[in-house]
């Protein structure tokens, strides 16, 4: 199958310390591709390199064959890449509706003058927003402020904002971080529901979740990919077990 996102020799050094070194990764269209690895393996740095938050020291990132290395983060949604953050990252004093509408509007907007229109001028955006809110099960809270939501609900909102831009590729950074078991189950269900519709690149710590939802797993350790394969293969890989247990 065709690869949607590809990195070639992607590296990042912080001072003399290589956080990510020479990573070649290819995310196939329609896959849920998971990047795992022990703490400090460079997973978040790797994500920040793809999403443009950090500029790589070397290497390239290609999306649909186009070189997007070091692109400004605000240009990604227009290309079709949407990012979801590790820490809850919403707009606390704004309503759920405004949170999601903004992301929908950012993707749709045509020209600077649309910014001075009326909210009523965009009924199709409004409908789309309501549909997304319904999809993540927050419709009873549509006009509540984001800060009034529970932690689990805020994570759901976070995913909803990410989906609002109708992306082709979603970057999910530890979606179940800090969630209670109940909420984790709900989130797992939500991500599973996304498979097939979207291509997802995911960082996750919780092993049972990774094994359950991934099509392909890449294991990162000390900034390098040490193994790659199906959940079945990774489960039995001795290299991976060594890395996790600190036997190198």
């Amino acid at each position: 199958m065709k690869s949607l996102l590809k990195t070639e020799g992607l590296s990042k050094n912080f001072g003399g310390l290589p956080a990510v070194s020479n990573v070649d990764l290819s995310v196939k269209l329609g896959d849920i591709h998971c990047v795992i690895g022990p703490n400090g393996a460079g997973k978040s740095t790797f994500f920040n390199l793809i999403s443009g938050e950090l500029k790589p020291s070397a290497g390239n990132v290609y999306f649909k064959g186009v070189n997007i290395t070091g692109i400004s983060p605000h240009k990604l949604p227009k290309l079709g890449i949407s990012r979801c953050f590790q820490i809850t990252n919403v707009f606390p004093k704004l309503t759920i509706f405004q949170n999601i509408w903004s992301a929908v509007f950012a993707k749709s907007n045509n020209g600077i003058f649309s910014f001075l229109g009326n909210f009523k001028d965009y009924p199709e955006l409004e409908n789309h927003t309501h549909k997304i809110i319904e999809d993540v099960g927050l419709s009873h809270k549509t006009y509540a402020k984001a800060e009034e939501l529970s932690h689990g609900q805020q994570r759901m909102l976070e995913v909803a904002i990410t989906l609002a831009a109708s992306p082709e590729l979603i970057l999910l950074d530890e979606p179940t971080q800090g969630l209670a078991p109940e909420a984790t189950k709900e989130m797992t269900k939500l991500i599973k529901g996304l498979s097939g519709k979207y291509t997802i690149l995911l960082i996750e710590h919780k092993m049972h979740l990774v094994m359950e939802i991934s099509d392909l797993i890449s294991v990162l350790s000390f900034g390098k990919i040490i193994d790659e394969g199906t959940p079945e293969k990774i489960k039995n890989s001795s290299i991976v077990q060594d890395a996790y247990l600190g036997r190198r």
Partner: protein, 312 residues
């Protein structure tokens, strides 16, 4: 409903104003109301604190004053000074938004100081330390009441325009940036660009207000471009309340009324203003507007309690 009340209250104030204050004071209040409401777009909606707003107020005042002194009509003076401030704000804004937080504040402050010293040193044009004096008023505005009415009409136009900004998607984007700039960027908004737009909008309206100010006392004193004036502008806006569109106007009324009365009683009145500022920041973060809102809320709860008692 609530919205209408505040606008009706504003209208009543505009009509009663000339009877409550001297014509010069009420004109000053209206001019600074334009400044405060515009500054709130940047401060309250976008979350940008600039200590350089006086440079735009002063630029508007000086340029408009110079044009009037050259004998040209007011309908050239106001647009030209507003457009000049717009150009200045675009240049200054472009550099300021390159940095965030403290550095942004310092940059705006530095530009303010530069403009101040230009006004200070360039005596032939700006009058240096004495400020720009003997600015003639156009004939139809020589009466102080007609000047007040003229300023108020422009104020209402500004209010309408700024209201349009905050109730459009642009206003929502400003709030996104205030709430969470990195997230705003990740959903696809160019944060620096929109910060600059916000800065330019606030500053341009401030310049427009400056161009009106010069006519009130027929002069542009140099302290109108000094950074202390920038502090006053921030204080007035915060004092009134950044959480509401019209809130800052209350701050302007309060500030100008207090400074007028206190300065007669005690020469060291800025000390009291300092104390007031400390109190507002410590205990009334939402300013006067939030204070009133809370009182109304308490009153409603109180009234509801009475009603419940009656019915039971």
């Amino acid at each position: 409903m609530k919205k209408y009340y505040t606008y009706i209250a504003l209208l009543i104030f505009l009509i009663l104003g000339p009877f409550l204050f001297s014509h010069a004071t009420i004109s000053e209040i209206i001019v600074y109301s334009i400044v405060a409401v515009a500054t709130n777009i940047m401060l309250g909606y976008t979350g940008l604190l600039s200590f350089g707003q006086a440079m735009f107020f002063g630029t508007g005042a000086y340029i408009s004053g110079l044009i009037l002194k050259a004998g040209l009509p007011i309908f050239i003076a106001i647009p030209v000074s507003t457009i000049s401030t717009f150009i200045l704000a675009s240049i200054v804004g472009y550099f300021c938004v390159k940095r965030t937080g403290l550095y942004f504040i310092c940059l705006s402050f530095a530009f303010n100081q530069m403009l101040y010293f230009i006004a200070y040193v360039w005596v032939d044009v700006t009058g240096g330390e004495d400020g720009l004096v003997a600015v003639p008023r156009p004939e139809f505005l020589t009466n102080s009441l007609s000047l007040y009415i003229f300023i108020t009409l422009i104020f209402l136009i500004c209010l309408f325009a700024l209201r349009r900004v905050v109730s459009s998607p642009l206003g929502l984007v400003f709030q996104l940036i205030r709430e969470n700039p990195s997230r705003a960027s990740s959903i696809g908004y160019n944060v620096k660009f929109f910060k600059m737009i916000s800065f330019v909008i606030a500053s341009t309206f401030t310049g427009l207000a400056g161009s009106l100010y010069v006519m009130i006392h027929s002069m542009a004193p140099i302290d109108q471009i000094h950074w202390l004036k920038s502090g006053d502008i921030i204080f007035m806006t915060l004092f009134g309340g950044v959480g509401h569109f019209l809130g800052p106007i209350l701050g302007v009324i309060g500030y100008i009324y207090l400074s007028d009365t206190l300065s007669i009683i005690w020469a060291r009145w800025p000390l009291l203003m300092g104390l007031l500022f400390a109190l507002v920041v410590l205990y009334f973060r939402g300013g006067i507007a939030e204070l009133i809102e809370n009182l109304i809320k308490k009153y409603k709860i109180f009234k509801k309690g009475l009603d419940d008692e009656k019915s039971s």
